[in-house]
Symmetry: C2
Subunit: 387 residues, 2 copies
């Protein structure tokens, strides 16, 4: 078991109707709020109107239009400018992981005199950040319970995971009802995203018994409850459990003390959505079984066997290699069954930039230190298999 | 799935040699430290000397001699007096759960002008508390990651669980090496204590798939690693995993969103150790299978079947009632196998105060609202079966 440090100070307020506690929570942080959101789905579900009604008496500045794979320019830059102009006390993020990720970069940028990219690119270490409260409307990224955000800079194809303990949300409101209207495609992407977060933690050299069971339970729960959400989008219990598993899936609580895995599938996927702006969860679902096939070896076999037996219930009496291959096949089939296009070409990606992406990943993602070290050539092979 | 709130702001610093970070951590809180500890085992393992050496330059006041089932008088009262006299900035608890529980009550009492019992008995709500840092030397209670402490007041046989979010330790140092010298009896008590914490969460009306898997993994890990700790007290990996499972077992993270169970076994055990000052973990181990037998019914059967199959690997093709009975038997046998005396009479408890204890529990512990509601008569039956 490895040494570790862990602290997640975020207060989770979970369940139906918890939004009523919003005014009391916001009042702890001040009067001037930057309200961040995306393309307007919060208006369709009535959340926008509810927030304004609850926060009468507060001064609210709005930053709408934050896109999936949130952009440094204009979203982060606009947000920072608004915070400085209006001397904002606290950011209220209403939306999914992208809105929240963007809000985190804004929170840090607002307390820094220079160019916010200095912080995101780790040229300068942030020393303070505005407090962040979020109201989640999409179960997927786990950004509501971690201190990271992924920001894309279009002109350089950069997609950087910006992580700083200053960026934990102070409070996360999690009402599963707000996810009832999430489309089938986005629900499936959320399932795949969270499953991949768990798999990135599960596939490592050295894991504790408890973490393995915790991860396996999270994976099974996401498959069972995710499927129920797709069959009946208003199944409260399924939406609730899916939301909560997603929340725990990305903040390391499932792998404390395990050896580092290096999160290789995310490393590869960041190039895909950096170059092509595809849905992150879909990209991960496509990469996952190809990465698994690529790293299956005598050394990794026992881990695949454990995964196959405990997650998919594959018969333990089979040959270990057969169990491992079946486990990978089941992973692929599950993603396919929830409607995810399982080839990059279905998302309009051909082989024209594979070499460039493989090179970008090899240079920027440090995958030579992953659970199974990946060279540029390995990354290229995984991308080609994914086409 | 039930609504919930959750926030555990404690910073965990886990692993071999982490004590070297102590001076930097303590400096955040001030110069004047109340060092609390127990019967002197921290001197035998060299931790006391190490702490003094690392904290040269700090002003240290000591409160030694805190007993298991820590006492309001003299420990809490002495600690509060010392904090006030010396204007202590921060409490450093070096020991097991009892030292830490006592330190929590002191932390609250030190910031209150009246009688500390007002706080512990919930007559008055604390408004502030001194920060607490702990160095854990015993894997058991999980006090290092929760905001509660259990305090005994001898003259009234009261044993009160005092819970307040102000009482989360700011920082918990968890070095498994400090648990190498824990005796077999205390190691077994720690295993039973943590297993019972998980069972109290697992046996409820409505649990999520993920929580069930998390709890089952915790239980299996405690049995496997606990046994290894008993066989080889210096097995670092086993001590480490046991320590970490104990840390997570008592702060609700394993049951967020589950329905309330009411922690009935703890309710009953608090009377036992309140009246007879027995080792808490042993008391819990004795109560557990008797409580299970008592509540097994048509309604609870599916939960016992799940427990038996997933934790003990009992053959699913057996009759459900047989699975349930086997699961209870396996629970009993496991506690017996780790050397716990499984009858109250072995701890010097006879039937002379059973009625009194049953009445005390019925009046004070609210078990009429437990997962399976318990009347005074039910509690009496469970105690008699435990003799």
């Amino acid at each position: 078991m490895q040494n570790f440090e862990y602290c997640t100070p975020t207060r989770l307020i979970f369940g139906k109707g918890v939004i009523e506690k919003l005014p009391g929570v916001m009042a702890q942080f001040g009067k001037k709020i930057l309200l961040t959101y995306g393309g307007g789905s919060i208006k369709k579900i009535g959340l926008y109107q509810k927030v304004l009604e609850l926060l009468k008496g507060f001064e609210i500045v709005e930053l709408p239009g934050i896109q999936p794979n949130p952009k440094y320019d204009p979203s982060v830059l606009d947000g920072v400018r608004l915070c400085k102009e209006h001397k904002v006390d606290v950011i209220l993020s209403a939306g999914g992981g992208s809105v929240l990720d963007c809000s985190k970069a804004i929170a840090a940028g607002a307390c820094y005199e220079g160019e916010p990219w200095d912080l995101i690119s780790y040229k300068v270490q942030a020393t303070s950040a505005l407090p962040i409260v979020d109201i989640l409307t999409l179960a997927a990224t786990g950004s509501e319970y971690d201190c990271g955000g992924v920001i894309s800079r279009t002109e350089t194809n950069d997609k950087i995971g910006y992580i700083d303990p200053l960026l934990f949300p102070a409070v996360s409101f999690l009402d599963p009802v707000y996810t009832f209207t999430v489309s089938k495609g986005q629900t499936a992407a959320g399932i795949a995203d969270a499953m991949n977060h768990i798999l990135e933690q599960y596939f490592c050299e050295d894991a504790t018994l408890m973490n393995d069971g915790f991860c396996e339970a999270g994976l099974k729960s996401l498959m069972v409850n995710g499927m129920k959400c797709l069959e009946n989008p208003e199944d409260y219990t399924a939406r609730a459990e899916m939301m909560f598993v997603c929340t725990l899936a990305c903040n390391n609580i499932m792998s404390l003390g395990n050896s580092e895995s290096g999160w290789p599938m995310h490393g590869i996927e960041h190039a895909l959505s950096g170059y092509y702006d595809i849905t992150h969860g879909w990209g991960l679902a496509i990469i996952t079984p190809r990465w698994m096939q690529h790293i299956l070896s005598e050394r990794t076999l026992p881990r695949f066997v454990k995964y196959g037996v405990n997650v998919f219930g594959i018969d333990t009496s089979l040959d270990p290699w057969e169990i491992a291959r079946k486990a990978i096949e089941e992973t692929y089939k599950f993603f396919e069954s929830i409607g995810i296009p399982m080839h990059l070409r279905e998302l309009g990606i051909d082989n024209s930039r594979i070499d460039e992406m493989a090179h970008h990943v090899a240079v920027n993602e440090g995958l030579e230190n992953a659970y199974v070290p990946l060279t540029e050539q390995d990354i290229r092979k995984i991308l080609i298999k994914s086409l």
